[in-house]
C-alpha cells in the first residue's frame, strides 16, 4: 500500500505540474461546448421572428405592419433594408419583408405585382405561409380600393346613362371614392364576416417533445441536494454538447498523460523497477490511480464551470456519474493498452491527439444528437466515446430506467468488460518485459 501511495504521489506531482495543459484541457472543451451546444441547438423559439422594412412609409404600409404586428406567434422587427437582408443571411429571422416605395400608389392604381420583396434563406420553411398571412391582410386594403373603384365607376356609368337617383346626381367622385373606401373598411368593425371555429386539443403523443418542451424522466432521480432537474436544464443541446466534449477531452488528456509507461520503458526504468518484489503491481496500480485522479479532477472542474457558465449540471443524476466513471476506466485501460505497444514517447504524443480527435469524431462527441441514427450511429458504437454518449442519451431521455438498467445495459457491459480485459492485457505485457 505504501508503495502504491508513493507512486501515486510522485505521478500526481508530475502530472499536475503541467498546469497549462490542465487549463487547456478545461478551457478548450468549454469553448467547443459553446460552439457545439449552439450549433446543435434544435429547440425552437416560441415566436417566429420576421424583419420588416417600410420603404413606403404611408398610411397603407403602416396599416399592414400594424395588422401583422398583432398576430400571435410572429415577432416583427422593424428595420432598414440592408439590416433586414443581413438578418435573413445570418439566420436571425425566418424571412424579411420589404415594403417597396410606391406601395400605396401601386395599390391604388391596381398594380399589385411585386410591391413587397420577400427575402428568405434556402432553409426557410414558413416564409410561404407567412407570405399568405401578410397577403391576407393586404387583401383587406386591396378590396377596400377595389370596392371604392367599383362604386365610382358605376356612379360615372349610371350618371352617363341618367339612371342615378336625383339625390346622388351631383356627387364629387373623390369624396365618393373615399366614402366607399371607408364604408368597406368600417364593415370590419363588427369583426370579420367569415370566422374560424378554432379548437385546441392536447395530443396523446407526449414523447415527441415539440416546441422546446423538456421531457422529464420519472425514475432518473437527481442527486440528493441538487436543486436542478432535467426541466431546469432548459438547454438540452448544451448538456449533450458538454457531455460530448467531456468524453472527447478525457480521452485526449488521459491518452496524452499515459506516456509514463512508454517513457519508463524507453529509459529502462521499468526493467529496473520490476526486478523488485511487488514493485510492478504497485507501479501499475499507482499510475492507474493517478490517471483516475486527474481524470476526476478534469470531470469535476469541467462540470463545475459548466454549472456556472451554462447553468447545466451534467452530474445532477446518478446515472450520469456512473456513465462517466465507467467511461473513465475504459479510457484509462485503452490508453494503457496502446501505450504498452508503443516504443517511444514521441510516438504516443504524436498519435494521442490524432487518435482522440479521430475517435471523438467517429464516436459522436462533436455531433452528440440524441435523435441521430443509421450507419454513422452504428459506427460510433465501436468507440468508447460512442458507447458512453449512447448511454448518456438513453438515460437523459428515457423514463423508468434505474441504475440496474444502466449497469446491465450492453453498452455498459462492453465498456466494463473491455476495461478489465485491456487492463489485464497491459499488465501482462508489462510483466513480460522482464523476460
Amino acid at each position: 500500500m505504501h508503495k502504491i501511495l508513493t507512486v501515486l504521489k510522485y505521478k500526481l506531482k508530475i502530472l499536475l505540474s503541467d498546469k497549462s495543459f490542465m487549463l487547456a484541457m478545461t478551457v478548450i472543451p468549454l469553448i467547443l461546448t459553446i460552439i457545439t451546444g449552439y450549433a446543435l441547438k434544435f429547440e425552437k423559439e416560441n415566436k417566429i421572428p420576421l424583419a420588416v422594412c417600410d420603404l413606403d412609409k404611408t398610411d397603407y404600409s403602416k396599416t399592414v405592419i400594424d395588422l401583422i404586428s398583432k398576430k400571435d406567434g410572429l415577432e416583427i422587427i422593424i428595420t432598414d433594408e440592408e439590416t433586414a437582408v443581413e438578418m435573413v443571411r445570418d439566420y436571425k429571422v425566418e424571412a424579411a419583408y420589404i415594403i417597396k416605395e410606391g406601395f400605396k400608389e401601386n395599390l391604388i392604381k391596381g398594380n399589385t405585382n411585386g410591391i413587397i420583396e420577400q427575402v428568405s434563406s434556402p432553409s426557410s420553411i414558413a416564409s410561404n405561409m407567412i407570405g399568405e398571412i401578410i397577403g391576407g391582410e393586404i387583401s383587406r386594403i386591396i378590396i377596400n380600393i377595389t370596392a371604392a373603384d367599383w362604386v365610382v365607376s358605376e356612379y360615372n356609368s349610371l350618371k352617363a346613362d341618367n339612371r342615378l337617383k336625383s339625390a346622388y346626381s351631383e356627387k364629387d367622385v373623390d369624396v365618393l371614392w373615399q366614402e366607399a373606401w371607408d364604408y368597406t373598411d368600417s364593415l370590419w368593425a363588427s369583426g370579420p364576416a367569415m370566422t374560424i371555429d378554432y379548437i385546441e386539443i392536447e395530443s396523446s403523443n407526449v414523447t415527441e417533445n415539440p416546441d422546446n418542451i423538456n421531457v422529464e424522466s420519472s425514475m432518473n432521480k437527481p442527486v440528493p441536494g441538487s436543486s436542478m432537474n432535467k426541466s431546469a436544464f432548459g438547454t438540452d443541446s448544451i448538456s449533450s454538447a458538454a457531455f460530448g466534449m467531456l468524453t472527447a477531452f478525457i480521452m485526449f488528456m488521459l491518452m496524452f498523460n499515459s506516456s509514463w509507461l512508454v517513457e519508463e520503458k524507453e529509459n529502462g526504468t521499468l526493467k529496473r523497477i520490476i526486478s523488485g518484489p511487488g514493485a510492478i503491481s504497485a507501479l501499475f496500480i499507482g499510475n492507474i490511480l493517478s490517471l483516475i485522479f486527474i481524470g476526476l479532477i478534469q470531470i469535476v472542474l469541467f462540470s463545475f464551470i459548466c454549472t456556472i457558465v451554462f447553468k447545466v449540471n451534467l452530474f445532477a443524476y446518478v446515472s450520469n456519474i456512473c456513465i462517466i466513471i465507467i467511461y473513465l476506466f475504459s479510457v484509462i485501460s485503452l490508453s494503457l493498452f496502446i501505450s504498452s505497444f508503443l516504443k517511444t514517447r514521441i510516438q504516443l504524443q504524436a498519435g494521442a491527439p490524432l487518435f482522440s480527435i479521430i475517435t471523438g469524431f467517429i464516436g459522436g462527441c462533436f455531433w452528440n444528437i440524441p435523435q441521430a441514427g443509421g450507419f454513422v450511429k452504428t459506427i460510433s458504437l465501436f468507440t468508447p466515446q460512442g458507447l458512453a454518449l449512447d448511454l448518456f442519451n438513453i438515460f437523459s431521455a428515457g423514463a423508468n430506467l434505474s441504475l440496474v438498467n444502466l449497469l446491465t445495459s450492453w453498452q455498459a457491459v462492453v465498456l466494463i468488460l473491455s476495461s478489465i480485459l485491456l487492463t489485464v492485457l497491459s499488465y501482462v505485457r508489462i510483466k513480460n518485459l522482464r523476460y
Partner: protein, 417 residues
C-alpha cells in the same frame, strides 16, 4: 541544392511510417462521409420552425370546396432541392377520423375541416366557419396555423365586404333589385378573384451565408481545409523534431539560411497537401459528384494560397513550441479549434454571433468560402477577397516566425559564447 535535399529527407521520413501514410490518405474521404451523414441536417436546419403537416378534411365535397383544398395544397408547392433533408409544410387530404388520429399521434400539427354546406352557406351570407383544430402542446404551430386560417377567413371576409359595399352603393344609386339582376354575378367573381390574387404581391429573393452548393460539396470543401491544416502539422513535426534532436542548433551554424529552411518546409508541406488534396478530391468527385468543372486555375490558386497560409501558420506554431509534444498538441488543438470556429465542422450559419466574428481570424473561414465558390461554379469578388486575406495572414505568420527564429538563434549563440 540544399532545399531539394531537405525536402527529400522530410518526405522520406514521412513515408517511412506506413500506418501514418494510410491514415493520411484514407481518413479524408472517410471523414467527409461521416460528416455528411451526421452534420448535414445543420445545413438545412431552420432555427425557428420545423417542417410540419396539416390535415385537410373536405366534408362539403363540392367543386368549390375542392378548389379551396387544391389552393391550400398548391400554396406550398415550392420545389425543394432533392439533396435537402428538409421537408416543407405539407397538406394532407384525408377524412375526419384519420385526421384526428394523425393529430393525436403528432403526425400533423393541425386539422382543417371544411364543414358540410360550407359553400352554400357562403352564397347565402350565412358563413359557416371553417373548423381548425390544433395541438395545444405545440403552441407555436397552433398559433401559426390559427393565423394562417384567419388570414384565409379574412380574404373571404374582405371579398364579402366588397360585395356588400357594391350592393349598398348600387342600392343608393339605383336599386338593390337591379344590383342583383344586373351586377351581382360579376361583382362576386371580380371581388373574389381580386381578394385571392395576393400571390403576385411578392417578389421573392433568396439570400444565404453559404454559396449554392450540395451538402457533399460543402463538407468536401470544409474538410479539405482541415486536412490541409493537418498536413501542416507534418511540417510542425519536422521542425519540432529538429529542435529536439538539436538539428536546428547545428543548422544554425551551417550555411543554410533561415529562408531556405522555411522554403524547403513549405514545399514539403505543399507536396503532402497536394497528395492529400487529390486523395480527397478524386474520390469525392467520383462518389459524391462534387462540381469540378470550374477552371482548374481557380482551384490551383485557392489551393496554393491555402497551403501557403497553413504552412506559414505551421511554421509559426513550430517556432513557438518548446518541445515536439507541445507542437503536436498546439497543432492538433489549434486545428480543431480553428475548424470549429471557422465553419469546417459546423456550418457558420449555425454558430453564435460571437463565434462568427472570431471566425474571421481563422484560415478555415476564408479558405472554405473560396473552395465553396469554386464548387458552386459562381466565382464572385469575394473569391479574390478570400485569397487576399489568406495571403495577408500567411505573410503575417511568416514575418513573426522569422523574427522569433532570429531571436531564438541569437539566444543560442549567446549561450554558446
Amino acid at each position: 541544392m540544399r532545399i531539394p535535399i531537405i525536402i527529400k529527407n522530410d518526405l522520406k521520413l514521412f513515408f517511412s511510417d506506413w500506418k501514418a501514410v494510410i491514415l493520411f490518405f484514407g481518413l479524408p474521404i472517410a471523414f467527409v462521409s461521416i460528416f455528411i451523414s451526421s452534420l448535414s441536417p445543420l445545413l438545412d436546419m431552420n432555427r425557428f420552425v420545423d417542417s410540419f403537416n396539416i390535415a385537410l378534411v373536405d366534408k362539403d365535397d363540392t367543386v368549390e370546396s375542392r378548389v379551396l383544398i387544391n389552393q391550400f395544397i398548391s400554396s406550398q408547392s415550392a420545389e425543394y432541392d432533392i439533396d435537402s433533408t428538409r421537408n416543407p409544410i405539407s397538406f394532407i387530404k384525408t377524412d375526419e377520423a384519420s385526421a384526428m388520429d394523425m393529430l393525436n399521434n403528432g403526425d400533423v400539427a393541425g386539422v382543417i375541416i371544411i364543414p358540410e354546406g360550407f359553400v352554400y352557406s357562403m352564397s347565402i351570407g350565412e358563413n359557416k366557419p371553417l373548423k381548425v383544430i390544433t395541438d395545444s402542446s405545440r403552441p407555436l404551430y397552433a398559433l401559426f396555423i390559427k393565423n394562417y386560417m384567419e388570414s384565409y377567413a379574412n380574404i373571404i371576409s374582405a371579398a364579402q365586404n366588397g360585395i356588400m359595399t357594391a350592393y349598398v352603393y348600387y342600392d343608393k344609386f339605383v336599386s338593390g333589385k337591379e344590383f342583383y339582376d344586373e351586377k351581382y354575378a360579376d361583382v362576386v367573381t371580380s371581388f373574389s378573384l381580386k381578394a385571392l390574387s395576393k400571390n403576385d404581391l411578392f417578389v421573392n429573393k433568396e439570400v444565404s451565408y453559404i454559396p449554392n452548393v450540395t451538402k457533399y460539396e460543402y463538407f468536401t470543401a470544409a474538410l479539405l481545409v482541415v486536412f490541409i491544416m493537418f498536413s501542416g502539422i507534418m511540417g510542425i513535426k519536422f521542425t519540432a523534431s529538429e529542435k529536439l534532436h538539436g538539428i536546428s542548433d547545428r543548422l544554425s551554424v551551417s550555411p543554410l539560411k533561415d529562408a531556405e529552411l522555411i522554403l524547403a518546409r513549405f514545399i514539403t508541406v505543399f507536396i503532402l497537401s497536394l497528395l492529400q488534396f487529390f486523395a480527397l478530391i478524386v474520390p469525392a468527385g467520383l462518389i459524391f459528384k462534387i462540381y469540378l468543372n470550374a477552371s482548374p486555375v481557380y482551384m490551383l490558386i485557392m489551393f496554393v494560397t491555402t497551403v501557403f497560409t497553413v504552412s506559414a501558420c505551421a511554421i509559426f506554431v513550430a517556432v513557438i513550441s518548446p518541445t515536439p509534444a507541445a507542437a503536436d498538441l498546439a497543432g492538433s488543438l489549434g486545428t480543431l479549434l480553428m475548424a470549429a470556429i471557422g465553419g469546417s465542422i459546423y456550418p457558420l450559419t449555425s454558430l453564435p454571433d460571437g463565434i462568427k466574428s472570431l471566425s474571421y481570424l481563422t484560415i478555415n473561414r476564408w479558405a472554405v468560402d473560396g473552395f465553396l465558390q469554386i464548387f458552386s461554379g459562381q466565382i464572385s469578388a469575394s473569391y479574390y477577397h478570400d485569397i487576399g486575406i489568406l495571403m495577408l495572414m500567411g505573410a503575417v505568420y511568416i514575418f513573426i516566425s522569422i523574427i522569433l527564429l532570429k531571436l531564438q538563434k541569437g539566444n543560442v549563440l549567446r549561450i554558446r559564447s
